[in-house]
Symmetry: C2
Subunit: 400 residues, 2 copies
């Protein structure tokens, strides 16, 4: 539902928020947990322009844990309050420069579930390993997912140590197929009681907001370990998330309809129109020898086969409890074109088609010193552009 907070003509007394390409105009107001460098206490803030406004006057706590337990109506009220307080003409407050803060995890993440909601990603991966039969029979019937590891989720900027692991019979060593995955995550709350599914019509009540997710993956470990129970050590060494949670309210202007399905969904997965979100996502690579990063892919969250509402309805359809602070991620966001592929497994076709970097280097998978930078933003005529900031990570060498 659109309200006065989405008005494109709104400007802020924080001048840096009024610059056209800014990720954090007054129409965005994402929440996050920051710590001024040199301090040891973390605090809640909202990003505005190049600054942070501390949320202590409006919200208690040092993480978003309490916020995530609020009903959506109260989260919406907070957004309206913040919009008013930051509007041009309102009393100015202390601004904390983002460059002087470290960003931490936004909440105590209880459980993390990773979906597989891009049919283009699933088809590409399927074609590589099962040529001619890319999609398994269940794909178009339910949102496939697996449980990830909450303990390995790290904030943007954390170095990602190349994992060691088994890659075959008697083989153990540093992964040689280290990959990233470009995903969007949803931080959930308030959640449901065990045994009480969330109807799809109510699913969005339990999404506080979205962020970028890099589900770092070791493909060689994954191939060897994944049968019959799925990926495990190939994924749980690190998953990065961007620190600013863009509220589902901020995303209202960017609703679109999800792609049509070839098969009718079962009733519990049937949604109305405009339950997808048009978020453009990009992955960038900067090797240690590069000054500027190079874009690897650009895709859109709008093309996912399954929507967030469908993921939540499916996740809880058996009575599984979702708790405030849980994270679900979309799975790799890929599209129909090569330029839309959201991981190196697809982009290099498992190494068969290496990438060429401007330095003359080539890449099949990631090398030590490579930085992966994910970005995301929403644009639509008549509305202010809003951005997700970045999710960054540099690959550090394997432990010796």
């Amino acid at each position: 539902m659109l309200d006065e907070t989405h008005d494109a003509s709104l400007t802020s007394w924080v001048e840096s928020a009024n610059v056209p390409e800014c990720d954090f105009p007054i129409q965005n107001l994402p929440l996050g947990v920051y710590r001024p460098r040199g301090h040891h206490l973390s605090r809640i803030g909202t990003a505005i322009g190049d600054s942070i406004i501390d949320l202590a006057p409006w919200l208690e706590g040092s993480t978003l844990d309490s916020y995530l337990k609020l009903p959506r109506s109260q989260r919406r009220d907070l957004r309206k309050t913040l919009s008013g307080a930051l509007r041009k003409g309102a009393t100015s407050q202390e601004l904390i420069p983002q460059t002087e803060c470290d960003m931490l995890l936004p909440a105590s993440i209880g459980d993390y579930t990773d979906f597989y909601a891009s049919i283009h990603h699933a088809a590409n991966v399927g074609n590589m390993f099962r040529p001619g039969n890319p999609l398994l029979p269940n794909y178009r019937h339910l949102p496939i997912a697996y449980h990830g590891r909450a303990s390995s989720i790290v904030p943007s900027g954390t170095h990602v140590q190349r994992p060691q692991g088994q890659t075959g019979a008697g083989l153990f060593g540093p992964s040689r197929n280290l990959d990233y995955e470009l995903e969007i995550g949803a931080l959930l709350g308030p959640g449901n009681q065990q045994g009480q599914p969330i109807p799809i019509a109510d699913a969005e009540e339990h999404i506080a907001g979205l962020c970028l997710v890099n589900d770092w993956s070791a493909r060689d470990i994954q191939r060897w370990e994944s049968q019959p129970l799925g990926p495990f050590l190939a994924k749980n060494f690190a998953t990065g998330i961007s620190p600013w949670i863009v509220s589902i309210e901020a995303l209202e202007p960017f609703r679109v309809s999800a792609p049509p399905h070839e098969l009718p969904a079962l009733p519990y997965l049937q949604t109305g129109p405009e339950t997808a979100f048009d978020v453009t996502v990009e992955a960038w690579l900067r090797s240690a020898r590069m000054t500027d990063p190079m874009r690897l892919s650009r895709g859109s969250f709008r093309g996912m086969y399954w929507t967030l509402a469908q993921m939540i309805a499916h996740h809880t359809s058996n009575g599984c409890p979702i708790r405030a602070g849980d994270l679900i991620a979309s799975g790799t966001i890929s599209g129909p074109e090569k330029s839309n592929r959201g991981c190196l497994l697809e982009l290099t076709w498992n190494g068969a088609d290496p990438l060429h970097l401007p330095t003359g280097e080539t890449r099949t998978y990631l090398e030590d010193g490579d930085e992966i930078i994910l970005t995301g933003y929403c644009e639509r005529n008549g509305f202010a552009r809003i951005g997700f900031g970045t999710c960054r990570g540099v690959v550090s060498p394997a432990r010796t």
Copy 2:
């Protein structure tokens, strides 16, 4: 390491602890979280005979969270202190009858990992679905596991609602293949830093104690959803655990060597002798029409192909962080004989060979009203028998 707390001749001033078949003699001293019925605050206690001793004089908190962060030496010291305080001749203290308390989850469980460590279970399941080729190539090389769902873990006694779910294209309804899994779990702590594997020689330092685990499973949902990323909704509707955490110190007298492997383990998985534990485990069924439960299986944790130390070393070999309060479970404990099979999938060979109950009823999978009771105990000549108590759950009808 054996010490005075293991002396079989020790008796307690709590007379019920001195009865030969008691699960909780003074040699056991398991920890748990209890709430006297009618109260709303939970407390930490140790089970002794048919009673509970409150641990407030020795340990702070309303869960075991802080205890799990302690180094093993301090946990061992606490055990010695409790052994002294409960010994015959020591000053008696208030006894709280176990029958007047509800038992809660022992700790804030952050992440839950379920292994697949019984080669007999893996071979039986494999034979059912891949006749002639039961074990996948990776099985003897690494402990297979998947991430479970921490939010769905419930204490013993919680009713388990039959889940609904998809069981094929266009099919949605209550699971018709509801099963239990007889497992042992380890509650972990203090844990490791991300990026720092736990060497196998140190792995047991991070095991606080063991409990029984019932990893309830919906086999029809599992078959349809599990490719390519593993089980998801087939498992995350409920996982039951027994409330008393039997410390690894209490299990010292029951150390045995694990079964020999046909293939040499990689160095990071190589252990010394006596890293397995001889815990006998049983599953019992009581239908709504039965007065006494009927034993379905009896097996031993000693026969698992992979030990707990190997599971922890493997889990962290890629740098994955384990935190105090994490739970790992063994996977279904089955043995070479039919009487050792730890789930109905194996016992009834996916329904082909139904069970006959003393009431004249038959079972392929669980019916509403069925209660599953798991028990476990350790016995060895020259030592006091110790028990795990029970992990119970009654199947309630699917939501309508």
